[in-house]
């Protein structure tokens, strides 16, 4: 664990840590919106997608 934290805290590796956190967050945003849009299409309200994007 000490070794892992040492690698994590290396200055050169800080962008990687930031990238992984940003990646996780953005994948979450994408998945949430994608599932919502799929639900709207399935329920027969595809026009709601564009309306929500413009809101």
């Amino acid at each position: 664990m000490k070794q892992f934290l040492w690698i994590l805290c290396q200055p050169d590796n800080l962008p990687i840590v930031g990238m992984v956190l940003a990646l996780g967050f953005l994948l979450g945003v994408w998945l949430r919106q994608a599932l919502r849009n799929d639900r709207l299409i399935r329920d027969g309200h595809p026009e709601e997608i564009e309306r929500e994007m413009r809101r």
Binding site: M1, K2, Q3, F4, I7, Q10, P11, D12, N13, P15, I16, M19, V20, L23, W30, L31, Q33, A34, L35, N37, D38, I41, R42, I49, E50, M53, R54
Partner: protein, 249 residues
């Protein structure tokens, strides 16, 4: 002229909330740029750059790691010939990305997030980006230590306990002539032709057409061959599948 555009946008019933790029968007972009510049300036003054000691030609750092954006390719060098890992694969990545607009015939899911409308495209993209780019970078950062040996992230980098692996070519492992390696590679890519023969009447392949299918199949088979080769190397120490005087795969 800008006033005429603004007036036209305001009277367009399909765009009730439309505003003009100037000044609205430009103002936001300018403010964002200024904030980013201030933050970067403050950060660069408060935090020292992570410079190490002066370079010593008599002492090579071990491990000598590339910047994070090249670590994926440096990791690929473990599994592939430098010609393949350093030239062919990066070129295929760039050409493959450029080819996407010409290969993608699915009109749905354009301009909004979705899963069901574009399952194949999304799966291929996630496999390529996460599996073939991000994962090798993470392996290069966390799992490679002195001598570029494999160390689990929690293992100390103790070079005295590093195990030296004996790698063997696939053809030597199977006890067949090395020229048969080419047969293995051709057999792999012929899977694309076999799939075409099996599913050539399906609507998706009919829409794609022969040429697009050939390019897509080649790129997909190459993408899937990479983790397969990585697994062969990591699990059974297979070095190369096909050895020739000019290149090794």
């Amino acid at each position: 002229m800008n006033d005429a555009h603004a007036q036209a946008a305001r009277t367009d019933e399909t765009l009730p909330d439309a505003v003009t790029t100037w000044p609205h968007l430009v103002r936001i972009e300018l403010l964002t740029t200024l904030v980013a510049m201030v933050l970067l300036t403050v950060w660069s003054i408060v935090v020292d750059a992570p410079l190490e000691e002066a370079a010593d030609p008599n002492r090579t750092p071990d491990p000598s790691k590339a910047p994070w954006y090249f670590l994926g390719l440096q990791e690929l060098l473990v599994y592939f010939d430098p010609w393949i890992a350093g030239v062919i694969v990066p070129a295929l990545i760039i050409l493959g990305l450029m080819a996407i607009p010409y290969l993608d015939r699915n009109p749905r899911g354009s301009g909004y997030y979705t899963l069901r409308e574009r399952p194949f495209s999304i799966a291929v993209f996630l496999f390529g980006f996460l599996g073939l780019w991000i994962v090798p970078i993470l392996i290069g950062v966390f799992c490679r230590g002195p001598g570029w040996n494999w160390y689990w992230p929690w293992e100390p980098w103790d070079i005295a306990h590093a195990t030296h692996l004996t790698n063997i070519n696939l053809t030597d492992w199977l006890g067949v002539p090395s020229a048969l390696g080419g047969v293995f590679v051709c057999a792999w890519y012929s899977l694309g032709g076999a799939f075409w023969l099996w599913r050539r009447k399906s609507p998706a392949l009919l829409q794609l057409g022969g040429a697009r299918y050939a390019v897509t199949a080649f790129l997909l088979l190459t993408m899937t061959a990479i983790p397969l080769k990585m697994a062969l190397r990591l699990l059974v120490n297979v070095k190369y599948v096909w050895v020739t005087p000019w290149f090794n795969i």
